[in-house]
């Protein structure tokens, strides 16, 4: 090993270890997985995700186990001699072609059923039209004449300016707060209509499990619901690159029990 390498070896190793130590020290271990959410759909999607994750982890354990075993057991330095005649094994090859197909079919079946449920918008009790703009959302409660814009809250908007000097950690719900949140009733199947005014946007609240694109000139639909027993504030973001401020047009939804929602709706000014 050259002298330069010898000198640099220790500090380099120290640097790598320090960087690695940064991982557990800084990591937020609560933020590891998809939320279960507050909707029947979000829970089903979470279940599907977890099924997939466990299957992949099981297959990973087998394949990585085999690889690691081979790398240790068949080292030349350990005296392993290569079996140069080992070129085929018909049964093994058939097995590792057919078994994956069976596993895939097993994965596909639950996802079919969930997709059908997601696409079934019958029985909705409320329709809300959502229009994406550069760079804010517009919400309209169909049939009521109530329509308003929902923009990034001023406190976040000031803090996010380059060189603002404001610490994002001091801002309440930094980048996830708006001036006029969408209000919806709990325990209700709500049909959302999505369109856009200029470029493609996408509306997404992780706790509801669903996102869909808002495409200018076209109307898309999807449905959401919030469990009856989970009123509260749920936050999401635009999920399709829509220009400079794509990261600054959050979605905030306040879910209220039905009676409270009706009262709230009564109080809103009709703009049409």
């Amino acid at each position: 090993m050259s002298t330069a390498m010898r000198i640099l070896k220790l500090p380099a190793l120290a640097g790598v270890l320090a960087a690695l130590a940064a991982v557990p020290a800084r990591a937020d271990w609560s933020l590891l997985n998809m939320p279960q959410g507050v909707s029947v759909l979000s829970r089903e999607i979470y279940d599907m995700h977890m099924i997939m994750l466990w299957i992949c982890l099981a297959i990973a354990a087998l394949t990585f186990g085999a690889m690691t075993f081979a790398m240790i057991r068949f080292r030349k330095s350990r005296g392993a001699v290569a079996d140069t005649k080992m070129l085929h094994n018909a049964r093994l090859e058939a097995a590792w072609t057919i078994v994956p197909v069976l596993i895939l079919i097993g994965m596909a079946i639950p996802s079919v059923e969930k997709l059908i449920k997601i696409e079934d918008t019958t029985g909705s009790e409320l329709t809300i039209k959502i229009t994406g703009h550069q760079w804010y959302w517009q919400y309209e409660y169909l049939g009521t004449g109530i329509s308003f814009f929902s923009r990034l809250a001023r406190s976040s908007d000031l803090a996010r300016q380059r060189g603002s000097g404001i610490d994002p950690n001091s801002v309440s719900h930094y980048l996830l707060e708006v001036d006029n949140p969408l209000v919806v009733p709990t325990g209700t199947k709500i049909r959302l209509l999505l369109t856009a005014n200029d470029v493609i946007h996408a509306w997404w609240v992780p706790d509801f499990g669903m996102k869909r694109d808002a495409i200018p000139g076209f109307i898309n639909e999807m449905w959401i619901s919030v469990d009856e027993d989970k009123p509260g504030t749920y936050r999401g973001q635009c999920a399709e690159l829509c220009g400079a401020d794509h990261g600054f047009m959050p979605v905030v939804v306040i879910a209220k029990p039905k009676a409270e929602f009706d009262a709230w709706l009564q109080q809103q000014p009709a703009t049409e």
Partner: protein, 175 residues
Amino acid sequence: MDAPGKKANRGLVAKLALMAACSFAFGFALVPLYDVFCEVTGIGTRAQLSRAAAAGSTAVDTTRTVVVEFTASVPAGGHFTFAPVIASMKVHPGALNEARYVAHNLAGRETTGQAVPSIAPARATRHFRKTECFCFTPQHFARDEERELVVRFVVDRELPPGIDRLTLSYAFYDG
């Protein structure tokens, strides 16, 4: 290179040039070819329009009710206000219905608008027959004119059973 080699090359170049020319011509031939394709398969607005016009009155299915919602947008850069007169109506498949929109020209001069329809859910589109629609042609407006625009439609009986509510949306663009 020897003479037969050169001759063979010339022949090949001629064939390749011919292929290139034919490919280029094929691009132009696609225009009438697409017309034939659309006619034969029935895909494409023209065929749909003529079918819708021929729809006329069919037997009305009173056992089923579908809610049709109406909504409108004026995308960025447009100079109109544009809104439905009523937000929704209950219809029976097979019945002819009429809905109205109001458009007001804010451009400060004579102008034209083009409405582009869209239906949700998308699979309802082919079952939503517009027999008459302001979206079929560009709409001319005098300076500051406001007027009602009419669409007549039939939701046909083959609408899939899993749809109880559909939305007709128009985006109104400057022509």
